[in-house]
């Protein structure tokens, strides 16, 4: 009689882990979503959508950053992001002009939050300048600070910082690269 570690089927372990994920209530849930502008990583807390990232740097790096900034109790739980995925799919299919999602603004300072909330009110297919967004956030002179806040937007697409452009109509920069800004504006029928 010998005592070797018991045989087990890794598929059983994987199934058990899936059941755990379905029942667990993590501080942060994330999932990946395919889109015409590349693979996206979306993350939500119980308060709402907290992060949407272009996957360029790798999913692991994004998840590690969320674990460090929000909570290490983070799980890949796609079912908790069904509404986000559905609204993004509809947006990219041209069937949705406004997002109706709860947002968790936990990652921002006061002014940054006001800038992004003002940005979230720019309608589909419209644009605004950095100065206009700064004014709507309560400080018309703070267009540079508004630019920084938009550069730190953790929820692009849903908080449509792609609709904010320079005074002369220049596109300036974009968190996911200017070509994505162009793609999103064209999707919304803006001539660029």
């Amino acid at each position: 009689m010998t005592l070797a570690p018991p045989a087990f089927d890794p598929a059983d372990a994987a199934a058990a882990a899936r059941r755990f994920t379905d029942a667990a209530e993590p501080d942060v849930a994330y999932a990946t979503v395919d889109s015409p502008v590349g693979l996206l990583v979306v993350a939500a807390t119980p308060r709402g959508l907290v992060r949407l990232a272009y996957e360029d740097g790798g999913v692991d790096a994004i998840v590690e950053s969320l674990a460090a900034r929000l909570s290490p109790r983070i799980l890949e739980a796609p079912a908790r992001l069904d509404a986000v995925r559905r609204e993004l799919d509809e947006y990219f299919a041209g069937r949705r002009r406004a997002f109706d999602l709860d947002i968790d603004w936990a990652l921002y300072s006061d002014f940054g939050r006001r800038v992004l909330q003002a940005t979230a009110r720019i309608p589909f297919g419209a644009t605004a300048t950095y100065g206009q967004v700064a004014a709507r956030a309560g400080n018309a002179k703070a267009s540079r600070a508004a630019g920084r806040a938009l550069g730190a937007n953790a929820i692009p697409i849903v908080v449509p910082c792609h609709r904010v452009i320079g005074t002369s109509g220049r596109l300036v920069g974009y968190t996911g690269g200017v070509e994505r800004k162009v793609a999103l504006l064209r999707l919304e029928g803006v001539e660029v």
Binding site: A4, P5, D12, A17, R19, V63, I74
Partner: protein
């Protein structure tokens, strides 16, 4: 601290293997759920640098709860059988079913050492005893089963 998802990915198979040995395939799932729910509630561990030892300590406690609950449900019999009863399902490793019939301390030490692949030092930390005591419990358990260990 690493994200919980990575912790789950890294420890999933080890916890499952341990629980299949500790409580059998059928009960392993419930214990697995309870182990990771408890781990997430306590995550990240404050002192433990060794995540494998930490999560198997939790799994061992869940397995112990399972054995106690089953013992409470058990119907007393007049005559105690002389040899440990094999309670394994068909096709299951008979030897681990026999390990489950050992007294608590020996069972836990044997399981953590040989199904959990922890060192005696880690087993001691999991059981809150000295390394020497952990070694002795595992040794006595094996002796009782007249087992040799092949690794």
């Amino acid at each position: 601290m690493i994200p919980f998802q990575r912790f789950l990915d890294e420890q999933r198979d080890a916890v499952w293997r341990f629980l299949v040995a500790a409580v059998g395939r059928d009960a392993a799932d419930d214990c697995f759920q309870e182990t990771f729910l408890a781990a997430m509630a306590a995550y990240p561990p404050r002192h433990d640098r060794n995540l494998r030892g930490w999560v198997l300590t939790i799994a061992n406690n869940k397995a112990l709860d399972h054995h106690r609950a089953r013992a409470r449900r058990a119907v007393p019999v007049e005559e105690v059988p002389e040899v440990a009863v094999w309670d394994g399902e068909p096709g299951e490793d008979e030897v681990w079913a026999r390990v489950r019939a050992l007294p608590d301390k020996q069972r836990a030490a044997v399981l953590l050492r040989y199904a959990g692949d922890l060192t005696h030092r880690q087993v001691a930390a999991a059981l809150g005893c000295t390394e020497e005591a952990a070694r002795r419990s595992a040794h006595e358990g094996l002796k009782k089963l007249r087992l040799e260990v092949t690794r």
